[in-house]
Symmetry: C2
Subunit: 422 residues, 2 copies
């Protein structure tokens, strides 16, 4: 029988110790969002191929794992060249839009959804990038008010404070901006609407090439020097964490609806009261967020020492409607689950610090039935007291057996022979 | 944009209330097995097509969802007719064997594995049968002693007692037999080894057609009447729950190695001490378990009023070795997760009985920023006390909003206007 022991290319087998960390974090995530009234939902791993190819997935649509038709459908497909009728989802956004369209009459309104699930991308495998990985999205659909932003940001900050405190980290930064402020600033500087997207792409490089680097790159684009300098000037002095209303009226003037800055101020004030004082919550006019579907508030969470964000999201009021043919405001946060796992492992998260005591009873194979019953009686008693207990035969290679048990968090390891007193 | 709102055929979108039940049960399962020292493991949803077609999957191999090759591999495949290089797993057994072969140098020995995951079968969809569903398997690999059977049965009984007590059910039945006893009884009755499989298939029908029905079906097969009557006689009086050693020596005589009955007796005695006295633990010589790969002890759990088993398993010492080219004893239990969910829903499991209090604060959209901050301060306080709290805008269709909240377990629902005292 031909048999291949390795997993499919780019995918992972998770060992017990990795699973314990993953499950621990999943539980903290579920518990936190539940407390904020988010409901977990689940959709199938597969979606209709038409939905996956609907242009909402951007580059990811090139990476679909396609699932073949079956039986007579496949025969017909081979003739016509259409041999796939479904594919594995490459994100949780397309499934969410479909789910909402399919079930909205039975769903709470607004829907506060938590989705945790695997997604699949036929990407070139490389360090830290896999073809199957876990995504974690929270979204509020049907709430056009700023309550959605406040709940999303407060819940996510609370969740991260709880998780990272386990490795001694209490500080991280929540950056908030608004696509409307971004646009109004570009307008006030003198850029044309068709230039905005490119301008924002350059602005987004600030943390890599610095403000002067951004200025040079903009000048190289043949923009009016006056507009560039006026725009760059708006970002010169941000160190004092400006008041969002003053900053916006100073930079955007009448290019911005006054409500936007007012609402942003309320979001900042409300969230600040709800989260740990160690979390930096900042209005950050340089925050861009790449995806074109954002329509309002955008936000991102970063942590010192890591050059990737650990969560990001924003308001996307038009997208769900495009799918459904009926408009629905929406706001969401995508949590970098795999990145959180990486950071925790990196910072030496230890199972022992967060788990019950673990006892292993290793029984000599020659022990009598009576002795065995004594062992199981002891195991039952210890389990009743809340301990983790495993009963297993003492192996000939006892050293390897003990080592693997220790690696899996067993601190009490007892060998039991016929004459051992229990 | 063409967009299909329904899920892929035969697959499910889970609503929030269904998810809460599923997640609650998953948590009880994980917590119980963890206490018995089982380690959760995870493998990818996809497996190499060669492994899935390796004859171990039986009928399920016809139901594979095949995943297409990509890029140049696909072009080559279209020419040669091999267009799939992987498929979605149809069970958790093939992945377990591959996982063990791939990782055994880093795994504890014995490995006590818990797997919870979705599997996919392109079956004809019908009531209660889906094309994506959750399986839950526990297996002990590398333990040839009866400690494996004792741990598996005790842990699973403990788990079911905990889960079913939530709907007032404390009684269920654990049936235990051994493929070697089955064979020895057939031998002692006078059947030929090549007749055993067919004889067991007929015996397995006893709960449907009764013992006399089985006798008639056997006689119709042209077996020697003497063998049939001797065999049927062995099952005539089982009501008194026979002592397994006496029963085996009476029915099998020398056709059975004495250790088998002795070990079965120790399993029964040990497990009985470890589980709830309300659980019926019976040696059941009529238990067959269909799969041909079982080599020793077999077991099954049933519950009054339901004509399906809720868990089943046994010892399969040769199968992992066939995959690995190196022998490894193994014993496993498959938990009917979807069946457990069905029973709980059937018996009226209520979220409210097992959850924290849930409060909804519905805020009038005209409320001021100051009022909003008051609301969030109250929400933060209640969440700190352990309550589930959602803050959301009061909808125009408030009746529907309140109804869906009630359906989702909210017992405190408050409408907040500018002049509401909090």
């Amino acid at each position: 029988m031909k048999f291949i022991a390795t997993p499919v290319k780019g995918m992972n087998d998770f060992l017990p110790q990795e699973m314990r960390l993953r499950q621990h974090v999943l539980r903290l995530i579920r518990d936190t969002y539940a407390k904020y009234g988010f409901d977990e939902i689940e959709t199938p791993a597969m979606e209709h191929i038409e939905n996956l190819s609907g242009k909402i997935g951007g580059e990811n649509e090139k990476l679909i794992f396609k699932v073949m038709k079956r039986g007579r459908d496949l025969e017909k497909g081979l003739a016509s060249g259409e041999i796939a009728d479904s594919g594995l989802r490459y994100d949780l956004t397309v499934p969410l839009a479909r789910y909402y369209a399919n079930n909205r009459n039975e769903l709470p309104t607004p829907l506060k959804a938590l989705q945790i699930g695997n997604v699949w991308r036929a990407d070139k495998p490389q360090k830290g990038r896999f073809r199957q990985f876990t995504q974690c999205d929270i979204d509020i659909i049907g709430d056009g008010s700023i309550m959605a932003e406040i709940e999303l940001i407060a819940a996510t900050s609370g969740m991260l404070t709880r998780i990272f405190s386990e490795v001694g980290i209490r500080e991280f930064t929540v950056h908030i901006n608004d696509r409307r402020i971004l646009k109004a600033m570009a307008a006030a500087a003198g850029f044309e609407p068709e230039q905005y997207d490119e301008v924002f792409i350059l602005l987004d490089k600030m943390d890599k090439i610095g403000l002067d680097g951004v200025r040079e790159a903009m000048l190289a684009k043949d923009y009016a020097e006056e507009a560039v300098d006026r725009y760059i000037g708006m970002f010169r002095d941000l160190s004092g964490e400006p008041d969002v209303r003053e900053y916006c009226s100073g930079t955007c003037g009448k290019a911005l609806d006054g409500n936007v800055a007012e609402n942003m101020n309320t979001i900042l004030q409300s969230v600040r009261e709800m989260i740990s004082p160690d979390v930096h919550l900042v209005f950050d006019p340089t925050l861009v967020r790449g995806m074109s579907y954002y329509t309002g508030t955008i936000f991102e969470i970063s942590i010192d020492g890591y050059n990737f964000s650990i969560a990001g999201g924003g308001r996307y009021d038009d997208m769900i409607g495009r799918f459904m043919g009926q408009s629905a405001p929406a706001c969401g946060f995508s949590i970098g689950f795999e990145r959180i796992i990486t950071i925790l492992r990196d910072l030496g998260w230890k199972e022992e610090d967060h788990a019950a005591g673990k006892t292993a009873l290793l029984v000599d194979e020659k022990a009598s039935a009576g002795k065995l019953m004594e062992v199981f009686a002891l195991a039952t008693r210890l389990r009743g007291d809340g301990e983790v207990v495993t009963v297993q035969p003492l192996k000939k290679n006892a050293r390897f057996q003990v080592e693997t048990l220790e690696k899996n968090g067993y601190t009490q390891i007892r060998k039991v022979f016929e004459d051992t007193q229990l």
